[in-house]
Symmetry: C2
Subunit: 701 residues, 2 copies
């Protein structure tokens, strides 16, 4: 990848003195220190540079080629690159997969040539790349309109949409936010977000990586790279809604994944998800400015407006962040400047103290006390430029906060000129500032919850069943029967994998009802199973609360009549259930084998509360997955119920993942409900869906 | 109230040539056309105006008095006002209820004097009022710093926090948003948000009313006024979180209500709730610019960036707004400029069309087609100033949109100078613009869902029980027993009110078990009731699924042993439940008698989904209350269940409210669960909490 960013020489195919070809050459002339070889048979010179009729005509080695010629000419350019032994090509031309079948064919041809010759291709249909620190603009962005005024900084961008790359740079400049590199990746014929993410994670000039993507075709790899990143990754994902995904499908040739699965997996890998362009930028910027915010995020607020203090508390609470409890020392210290009638509390409303003791005294006392307070991680100062007195001690404040390892964030409001001057100063000093309290709490939440700073989970190994062979045989035998295993067969397989299942047996005739009573007593549940039918209740095939032998016999006959000569009849012990969970396994297009965990029951169907993780899971990852659902409070001993035995639950999730991965026949596993009874999870109903034979054969090949 | 805003003459008590007294006089001199009487014994003249030693010394009638003297002098000023027959006083001085007991005493004295003399008091501890259109600044805001540059507009503000009033004006100016009136109401000794809300609803210069409040002491009245308002009301409520509410209690002497109840009731009254200062301002501004957005809000998006189109769809979807389906005519028309490979869809990505046909042709065709499309309510244009070509046809666009009654909203991005010029133009034309798509969808959602534009609910009368007398007697009899009626007594009362309750009877001895079986068959539920004890399950007093006479006798004896000589034993028919709801009645401090409706069950306890409305309810209001819960999909026939009979449910809610209102003994009613069985709601468990006798006696007095 390095040669894309720092090549010793560049050839521009389609260079000219007008249109895009002109802009690329102008951009190179304004900062690129290597050799530039414009290629265009119609020019002898371009902006004073010798112009070559073809790539072959260049009597020097070329390390990077930028292609701007019309799409139908590009395959021959790639062939020429191959002949010249060039390994890095950026195709900025459009007219490929995004324009339909013809373009797809062109793109496939280029891809084939490149693959054969070991050429890495960036694009097509992209704006290339920008490296502000090196002054490398390998792009047709306008040198005057779009390039000027960009600020060198620590955020690098990866952007799938061409137009948005230019917009992002313009907006970052307007917001005074610095940039390191910007990569417009277009159709991702070869080089994609995974390649660039890995490159930028290792780039010493990048502290935070911000992305705009509409799909994650290599989601599994992306998640793995992100999960190992020690740099924060902020993702704005387009096409998360159904309407957005429709638009995404017609806009590019990409498919958007199930956003619930995607969001869940990426969050577990520490990726921060933004909903909006500015939110993405503001959070990225805050992460470069406050990289060391502790997980606790105990925030003290200093303000001259009680109302602003209240709004700050509300915004912190909405994000689940902590309003700091001031130490006794701080309260005592501040008591010296507070009027008698006013208790010292957080938020610290300094208005009365300033009235009595003057701004300077009250303010410096408050700032020192709070920064030194061991109960405080963040000092949030509400400041109104132009209405409050001038804020002179910014440099000193920053120095002190840094020395004490505290984070300072300004909530800035006020009159135009005042805020502009304040922003110039804070940007110089690297102090975090924003005008909107809800955006400040978005930033704090992102910085505090960035995964590498989370406390670790307990780690151990989940014991695996030694009966792998036996299970495989079973699946082989069962899968010949039907592509959806019935409840009984499904639970038999789960049982082999040491996943707890409810006690049950197949009942062949009413006369066996006696055994049932002797074995378990009553009540029991009777179910009619039909192969491939997962909606038993809707068909009246389920009898709950069967309380005697005679009721059981009666139920048997009723269900038998409904079944006719199909299916079979199952009897289960009826257990007392505290609440219902669901767990499962599936193969996702983008993320591969995944495990799901969530709440069950009807309300959860209404507003699903589920989380996903990539399989195979480690035990500690399974614990984290359990902890990711919104309603996790339910699991911790809610309303006097026994807490969920999370070790057992984690084992189930690990085993589900292993079971699915070990056997490519398994397409999907649903345990629903996974009932919790006195803290122990047990599978009450389950389905295993197998691949159809055709698909299975293919995979075996 | 009119004399507060437009008095013929004003006396300023505490006028001077320095500090606040100077600012008030300067502000009056800069625009107020009536007579100004500075009052201060230490001056002969102030800024060239004759200064009077006292109010009595003014030989002219005075219509409004502005008070700036220290708090301890204020009662005598009010007395002087009373003697001079003045009816309108604004106390801007601080040092009253906000500073503790002494201040409260002072405030109470002023209140008493004012009440006796029929004086209306505005304040104390406030910044007074501003009327930009009349140039009336009855405030100590700084004439140069804070006053200059404010833009006359259609939004009026009511602000509880003094400092925030000034901040709001500064921020509105900075965002280029126009203002009509701004009212800083401080401690609300007398004039409060209800008085001003009513005044502003009738004010022809106000189109939208924006408020910042930390509590709503006259919530019931506020809700009534808001509910009848034909102008949108946008409320930023401080202290919605627990942390914020604690801060609110120490900041002012006000108590914050339960935010779930407050939010729910206000939303039903059509009040739009904002979470942030800018959100409040942006939504208010949008409501002045796009007052006539239809409820359907079918939005078409025109953009040159496919990515931006996708993000717009995502943001619309997150707010539940509609992405318009373009008519066939529009698709056909746009097909003329779209390349063959690209289907015409919404969002309309014009990039390829602009490439082939030029911006002007593609754009004007798109705009005309979409504005004329009967399937479109809103045209959202994504525009990048400085990167896209200049947008010249703004005036024409606005004219056309107005003529066709369509809303136009710009999503503006781009380089600084370009956006500034664009904003100047759009502000002049009154076109809605914002840079953040999520804020745009906040604005569209607020404008579209503003209550007066919602389709109406069916209306009819809920039949009332004729047995009102009987019920009152019953309550009288029961309330002497205990302040919490037990389940049986509670449901007896509900039954009298024609609220459906489960069939049940008191079981006095095991021998009665036989009758139970004969009457209902099995299974039944047996419960031990203890007076005042609402946690039966936790005490093992509930036996579900009692399936035979012998089991019933056994359960009776077990529970009897637990009860000892307390309580009694209840037997109920066990019915098949589809899902559980809850319903109730309570008396709220701010909103008075209210009815609650929501989802029941354990997940709902985890993350409550309840809504409140002020009682008494009309039938159609009850229907609206049912419709307010997040999980309302459950009620409409979810997963093959019968839909809830909403007419029966609405009747129950109406009767609950009437029952609570009719009898002041009733403090609270809880029906939990209110089970739904085949679409019919029926009370399974209930509690009625009565006032303690003392409170009851007081209310009767």
């Amino acid at each position: 990848m390095e040669l894309f960013f720092n090549p010793g020489s560049i050839a521009v195919i389609g260079a000219s003195e007008r249109k895009l070809g002109s802009l690329v050459v102008q951009n190179l002339l304004r900062g690129y220190k290597g050799q530039i070889f414009p290629v265009n048979p119609n020019y002898k010179q371009i902006y004073g540079l010798q112009c070559f009729p073809s790539l072959e005509g260049i009597p020097h080695p070329v390390e990077l080629v930028i292609v701007l010629v019309p799409a139908h000419l590009v395959p021959s350019v790639i062939e020429a690159c191959a002949r010249k032994g060039i390994k890095n090509v950026i195709i900025e031309s459009a007219g490929f997969a995004e324009v339909g079948l013809k373009g797809i064919a062109l793109q496939d041809r280029c891809k084939a040539i490149a693959k054969q010759s070991g050429i890495r291709i960036w694009g097509p249909n992209c704006m290339g790349l920008v490296d502000i620190h090196s002054n490398h603009f390998f792009t047709f962005m306008h040198p005057a309109v779009e390039r000027e005024g960009l600020i060198p900084g620590r955020i690098s961008l990866i952007v799938q949409s061409g137009m948005l790359s230019a917009i992002f740079l313009a907006e970052l400049r307007r917001r005074g936010i610095g940039i390191s590199k910007a990569c417009s990746i277009g159709n991702r014929m070869d080089v994609d977000e995974c390649d660039l993410l890995q490159y930028l994670i290792n780039d010493p000039k990048t502290n935070v990586i911000a992305l705009y993507l509409e799909s994650l075709p290599r989601g599994r790899l992306f998640a793995k790279i992100a999960g190992n990143s020690e740099k924060p990754i902020v993702l704005l994902k387009g096409g998360r809604s159904e309407a957005g995904a429709r638009a995404a499908m017609s806009h590019t040739s990409s498919l958007s994944g199930n956003s619930r699965l995607t969001d869940s997996i990426l969050q577990q890998c520490g990726v921060i998800l933004a909903n909006d362009i500015y939110e993405m930028m503001d959070i990225s910027n805050a992460l470069t400015l406050i990289p060391n915010l502790p997980y606790t995020c105990r925030t003290a607020i200093i303000t001259l407006s009680g109302g602003a203090g209240i709004l700050a508390c509300d915004a912190l609470a909405r994000k689940g962040l902590n309003v700091a409890r001031l130490s006794e020392k701080t309260r005592k210290d501040m008591g010296k400047v507070f009027p008698d009638w006013m208790p010292v509390a957080n938020p610290i409303d300094l208005f009365p103290a300033v009235g009595v003791h003057g701004r300077s005294k009250a303010f410096s006392l408050a700032v020192s006390s709070v920064l030194e307070d061991p109960n405080v991680d963040v000092l949030l100062i509400h400041y109104v430029a132009g209405l409050d007195s001038e804020f002179k001690e910014l440099a000193e404040l920053k120095k002190k906060a840094d020395a004490l390892k505290k984070v300072v964030f300004f909530w800035l409001m006020g009159v135009e000129e005042g805020t502009a001057a304040f922003l110039r100063e804070t940007r110089k000093l690297g102090i975090a500032v924003h005008g909107e309290i809800t955006r400040i709490t978005d930033c704090l939440a992102a910085a505090a919850r960035y995964r590498p700073r989370r406390p670790g989970d307990p780690s151990r190994e989940t014991e695996m069943t030694p009966e792998f062979e036996k299970r495989s045989e079973k699946i082989e035998a069962l899968s010949s029967k039907n592509s959806i295993l019935d409840e009984y067969d499904s639970k038999q397989l789960l049982g082999v994998q040491q996943i707890p299942v409810v006690e049950e047996m197949i009942l062949n005739s009413p006369s066996e009802a006696e055994n049932v009573g002797q074995k378990w007593g009553f009540p029991v549940v009777l179910k009619g199973l039909i192969e491939g039918e997962t909606h038993k209740t809707e068909f009246g095939l389920v009898h709950l609360g069967v309380f005697s032998r005679s009721q059981l016999e009666e139920a048997f006959l009723k269900v038998k009549t409904k079944l006719g000569d199909k299916g079979r009849i199952l009897v289960q012990r009826q257990i007392k259930i505290d609440y219902e969970l669901i767990a499962g396994f599936l193969r996702d297009k983008e993320f591969g084998p995944c495990v799901m965990f969530g709440l069950g029951g009807i309300l959860a169907e209404l507003d699903p509360d589920v989380a996903f993780a990539i399989a195979p899971l480690k035990y500690e990852e399974a614990l984290r997955l359990i902890d990711q659902i919104r309603g996790k409070q339910l699991l911790d001993g809610f309303r006097g119920m026994m807490p969920l035995k999370k070790d057992l639950m984690a084992d189930i999730l690990v085993r589900l993942g292993d079971m699915g991965i070990a056997d490519p026949h398994i397409e999907q596993i649903d345990i629903n409900p996974l009932a919790v009874s006195k803290g122990s999870p047990v599978a009450i109903d389950a389905n295993i869906i197998l691949n159809d034979s055709g698909a299975r054969k293919k995979k075996e090949m």
